[in-house]
Amino acid sequence: MRTCLVVDDSSVIRKVARRIIEDMEFSIVEAEDGEQALGHCVESMPDVVLLDWNMPVMDGLMFLQELRTLPGGEAPQVIFCTTENDVGQIARAMRAGANEYIMKPFDRDIIESKFSQTGLI
């Protein structure tokens, strides 16, 4: 089974995302911030990362930049999932190497749609 790393400091968001993404037959690994997430990636590279922007310790953008420098770190599809919904921020995230972008609030349709656009399902 492929794995999805869900990175968000809100346990509610992680739970909602887990429920939706498990239904698409991914196994889920959770992280509360960028640093934890990076630790997971060093151990075992996920197939996809659902990534919040604003988090304590290490934010989403910094995590993404670090991830892409790891061996094998260019492989995961990274989908930002954040309340930062300004066009400038979206563009910044894409330039930093994100594959897709979800503006919160999201629903099942949007997650499925973005997973299918990035060729994950």
Binding site: D86, I90, M94, M103, D109, I110, Q117
Partner: protein, 284 residues
């Protein structure tokens, strides 16, 4: 509602829109039409049916039909039709014409996501489309959705279903919580009210017709009639695109499915590609 009311309403709706409502759709009629009744100060659906029979029931009739149609749509819905457009339909037409005008009809345009998706595909062709101009005409029965289509303004939810974020950044402008399609894409599409049950020959002839997720609501006879008239509005080498749950097979001889291309059909007047290739080989 009594059974005479249901019979009257379902006949009325079928006659005006083509939508077929079987007995078990009674709940649907109720949930969709009770708010319409309330808006017009009518107490229940029996009274609504009576009101529809009177002359001057124009606004009420329109509201009834608009309430019953399903307008669900999204950008790049099902993706395959847009891949087919880019990889099969446009290359074939641009090869046989070499230059000029290509006319595209989106025959159930709803709130505009489908015609704008087509416009984006065309825009993305860039220099490959040099020498061609494209006209896209979007039509729908419902004035309400056409107004939304013309405004070309979509919610955050709507722009995230089906639309890749790079295309969102490229072809939309953000305005608070909503996103509007940019003028260069908007200007490629014209919208008009049109009922597929009525004569549409005045629209002229098209090279490509998208008629997706509307025939499913019609009975077989209506489907056959609409498809036969569509075939007459298309160039002999034109392409028809239907929805994922729709087909021409067993419904009309006017179109034939293209082998290996799901949802894509050609006018039966066009000779099939394989025999023609074969002929060329054996001659030359």
């Amino acid at each position: 509602m009594n059974s005479a009311t249901f019979a009257y309403l379902s006949d009325f709706i079928k006659d005006r829109s083509g939508l077929v409502l079987s007995e078990e759709k009674q709940y649907l009629v109720e949930t969709r039409l009770l708010p319409v009744a309330r808006k017009h100060d009518i107490t229940n659906l029996d009274a609504l049916a009576t009101a529809l029979r009177t002359p001057f029931s124009g606004d009420l009739a329109t509201d009834v039909i608009e309430a019953m149609t399903t307008n669900e749509t999204f950008f790049f819905r099902d993706m395959t039709p847009f891949d087919n457009l880019k990889e099969t339909v446009l290359p074939a037409l641009m090869k046989s014409r070499t230059s000029g005008r290509l006319r595209i009809w989106c025959a159930a345009a709803s709130s505009g996501q489908e015609p704008y998706s087509i416009a984006i595909v065309l825009k993305e062709l860039g220099a490959k489309a040099a020498g061609f101009t494209f006209d896209i005409i979007g039509t729908d029965l419902s004035m309400e959705v056409l107004e939304r289509a013309k405004a070309a303004t979509y919610s955050q939810f709507e722009v995230q279903r089906g639309l890749p974020v790079n295309l969102l950044l490229k072809y939309f402008s953000q305005n608070g919580d909503t996103w509007q399609v940019n003028q260069d894409i908007r200007s490629m599409v014209q919208f008009r009210p049109l009922n597929l049950l009525r004569d549409f020959s005045a629209l002229g002839v098209f090279d490509i017709v998208f008629c997706r997720n509307v025939l499913i609501y019609f009975d077989r006879e209506t489907k056959t009639d609409v498809l036969a008239r569509l075939a007459k509005q298309m160039t002999p080498d034109g392409f028809l695109v239907l929805g994922a749950a729709e087909t021409v097979v067993g419904i009309t001889e006017a179109f034939r499915p293209m082998a290996g291309k799901r949802g894509l059909y050609q006018n039966s007047l066009t000779p099939a590609a394989t025999p023609r290739e074969h002929l060329k080989l054996s001659v030359g």
